[in-house]
Amino acid sequence: MPTMTLDQVQKNQSARIEGFIGDDVVLQRLMEMGLLEDEVIEVIGFAPLGDPMEIRLRDYRLSLRRSEAARVRVAILP
């Protein structure tokens, strides 16, 4: 299973969160919103200008910038 960061996941793909890069307030906010290890997320799509992206997790939908998503390591699910 290839490991990559969340911003590289394609539209309609699902992935499992493996870990995080760094330790700062951006991560704190992402984790508060429920992005944690082993959570399964689905990429719903990207804004027309390519950024931000929209994902589904824990019964809701979240939009985040790609620079923020790049802090999340994921494994693509088949």
Binding site: D23, D24, I44, P48, L62, R65, E68
Partner: protein
């Protein structure tokens, strides 16, 4: 009987959970807005009744987490802890949760529990949860979480009585619940910190001190206790990190693990998530082509609506104003009182009221967009563009609205949660060319620029460039502000994309009405007072001008229409002379050396000074100073008179030197494009930032910008 104080209950919850709807349904009486010094967000207070007992209810700003990084975010924590001296700690806290999104909503609840107040959960949107196939065992969940839970549907008013009963009971019982526990290693660090602190701080704040790097608690406590505490916090964090923990994740891991365990077996999920209406709508509304097209159409309609409503409203107001003025003229003799009423009071009130339709309409549209869930999509679509100016997607609507009028635009910046982004948006909003600049532009372009130039396109071309000036400078200044005065960590742009729902008429109406009323009360007085001050500066000293004008008016009365012209001219001349000798006129002569490098004479200087309340006043003042009287620039005859008066104007004492050359005209227009000659804008900034410093800053930076812009325009223009 001894009067016991009315108990207070606070209402907290995530955004998009129906919190405001619940507040309005509960607090039907005595609603008022609470402002706190140093804080730009506001709270609403009201009162609810349950079985003859009154309970005060306070609505706190919607938030996902209580990890304060700014005074604004600290407000909720302070109020819940009872640290605000003006408010006692609430006797209970209602936490409203979105039943269709329990896990993330419960995160905030676990934090609220730790603040030590009894908690009652209002479980909203049960219908939405059901439609998604979620089945919640409320009794079991309540037992697991250790707090009473009342299922409600705030928009239909279902479950309010049981909720009130649960709140009353919670106040009586006064039983705080127990939340998640942190690891032993973490608690050891908290104990160590407690020993260093001389003051006793609540446990919650000690956790915040350790968890929030650069957070508000760290800032205030280390200010209080100095380097000893700062070092202790740093080494405590080091120890936690050395033990293999990611500091940013400690809290979220503990809380979400606790939540997952608590709700296990309380929620039944369908095997396959049904495709909802929101999913289908979003496929179109965030689509690369259709989404963008719909977005642009919606924004275009919004802009046209605000832009258009300004003119009929102004027309009705002018009509009323003229009627009132006529009535006052017939009832009162000339004198300071009559002049104050006509030129001070009526104009002052008019200047306030003229904004009302725009503000109410814009807020109705914003409430609609927010309530139905489209606002988040609009921010999603525009974020990339706004990020280039250091702002985020939510700044788009305030800035777009400012093209019609900065006042509703500044108020619309409330949709931006991040304090620094919101401030940056507010501070640059007045740079967008608003509709009040149009009279100034049109007076000078039509009078001074030959219509045939550039294939007859010179007027629209100049107009376009003036608009462009604001459109280029606003993001540029925002970028500068964000990297200097408003510098700080890049705000995290994580935004929930709420489900679409039918907007509620009452929510929209309420929001619209409230914003209008708030503008009238908070900004209105300030605008009105300034209008009266400027009137006084143009009126005094009166000498005998008023009397002389009145004499001519009486003489003119008996004459035929075609014989009136010389009298009118005489009146206009006297008016001009009077204004020149007024306080403001003298100030204008005094500042002439300052405006000389812009190519202006003292009269243009006075017109600029007098237009401090509003840019369009400049046209009227020019009319008086150039002895044409104060007429309606929309009327052809008056406009023609004004045009020739301006074209023929000479430098005082130099009959061969024309005053308004093209560089001078352009310099005046550039000045008015960039200055902040608008008391209403300043009043709105004062009101929205809850400070005098920011409106002052805005006025100063824009005036400097306008001066430099006008200077460059004139000096460069004079080279050709």
């Amino acid at each position: 009987m001894i009067a016991t104080p009315t108990p207070t209950v606070a209402l907290v919850g995530n955004p998009n959970t129906g919190k405001t709807t619940l507040f309005n349904a509960l607090a039907s009486m005595n609603q008022r807005v609470g402002n706190y010094p140093g804080v730009t967000v506001e709270t609403k207070k009201g009162r609810l009744k349950h079985c003859d007992t009154a309970i005060d209810i306070i609505d706190l700003p919607g938030t996902y987490s209580l990890a304060p990084r700014s005074p604004d975010e600290m407000l909720t924590v302070n109020l819940l802890l009872g640290h605000d001296t003006a408010e006692p700690a609430p006797d209970a806290v209602i936490t409203i949760l979105d039943a269709s999104n329990l896990e993330r909503n419960l995160y905030l609840m676990t934090q609220v529990i730790e603040l030590g107040r009894p908690v009652v959960v209002a479980l909203n949107m049960m219908d939405v949860a059901l439609s998604q196939g979620l089945k919640i065992d409320v009794a079991k969940l309540s037992q697991r979480l250790g707090v009473p839970i009342v299922p409600i549907q705030a928009n239909k008013g279902i479950g309010l009585d049981p909720l009130k009963a649960a709140v009353s009971q919670a106040i009586l019982d006064h039983q705080p619940a127990a939340g998640p526990t942190f690891s032993e290693a973490f608690e050891r660090e908290i104990t160590r910190l407690r020993e260093i602190l001389t003051s006793s701080e609540p446990n919650y704040l000690l956790r915040r001190l350790l968890l929030d790097v650069g957070g508000h608690t760290e800032k205030t406590l280390t200010e209080k206790h100095g380097a000893t505490l700062a070092n202790a916090v740093a080494s405590a964090r080091q120890r936690l990190i050395a033990s293999g923990q990611v500091l940013a994740g400690i809290e979220a891991r503990v809380r979400y693990a606790w939540i997952r365990q608590a709700i296990a077996g309380c929620i039944e999920r369908p095997a396959v998530r049904p495709v909802s209406m929101s999913d289908r709508l979003d496929r179109i509304l965030t689509h690369r082509f259709w989404g963008t097209t719909i977005f642009l159409s919606v924004m275009f309609l919004l802009f046209v609506a605000i832009f258009q409503i300004a003119s009929p409203a102004k027309w009705v107001l002018d009509l009323g104003r003229a009627q009132l003025a006529e009535w006052i003229v017939s009832a009162l003799d000339p004198g300071p009182l009559r002049s104050l009423l006509i030129d001070g009071v009526i104009k002052g009130v008019g200047a306030v009221v003229v904004f009302l339709p725009q503000i109410m309409l814009l807020f109705a549209i914003i409430a609609f967009l927010e309530d139905c869930g489209y606002m988040a999509r609009a921010a999603f679509l525009m974020d990339r563009l706004m990020a280039r100016a250091g702002l985020n997607g939510k700044s788009f609507i305030p800035l777009l609205s400012s093209l019609a009028c900065a006042v509703p635009g500044i108020m619309a910046a409330r949709v931006i949660e991040n304090t620094r982004d919101r401030l940056a948006t507010i501070l640059v909003a007045p740079l967008m060319s608003c509709s009040a600049r149009l009279p100034v532009y049109s007076l000078l372009t039509v009078a001074l620029l030959p219509a045939e130039a550039f294939g007859g396109l010179i007027h629209p071309l100049v107009m376009f460039c003036l608009y462009l000036l604001g459109l280029i400078l606003a993001p540029l200044i925002a970028l500068i502000l964000k990297s200097t005065l408003l510098r700080g960590e890049t705000p995290v742009f994580v935004m929930e994309m709420p489900l679409y729902k039918m907007p509620s008429f009452w929510t929209i109406w309420r929001r619209s009405w409230e914003s209008g009323w708030m503008f009238l009360r908070r900004a209105g007085t300030f605008i009105f007072a300034t209008m009266v001050l400027v009137w006084a500066a143009l009126y005094f000293p009166t000498r005998d001008f008023e009397h002389r004008i009145a004499v001519i008016e009486v003489e003119m009365e008996g004459k035929e229409n075609d014989e009136k012209k010389p009298y009118e001219e005489k009146i206009n001349e006297l008016q001009a002379e009077w204004k020149q000798q007024s306080i403001l006129g003298q100030a204008g002569k005094w500042i002439e050396p300052v405006v000389r490098p812009l190519g202006w004479d003292w009269r243009i200087g006075v017109a600029a000074l007098a237009s401090f309340p509003a840019r369009e006043v400049m046209v009227g003042t020019m009319g008086i100073l150039f002895a044409q009287g104060e007429g309606d620039i929309e009327e052809d005859e008056y406009r023609n008179d004004m045009n020739s008066a301006i074209r023929d104007a000479h430098w005082p004492g130099e009959p061969d030197r024309k005053l308004f050359t093209i560089p001078v005209a352009l310099s005046v227009m550039v000045f008015f494009a960039l200055c902040c000659q608008c008391v209403s804008t300043l009043a709105a900034i004062r009101r929205e930032t809850n400070s005098w410093g920011w409106p002052l800053f805005t006025f100063v930076y824009m005036t400097v910008l306008a001066y430099v812009g006008a200077f460059i325009t004139y000096q460069v223009g004079s080279l050709f």
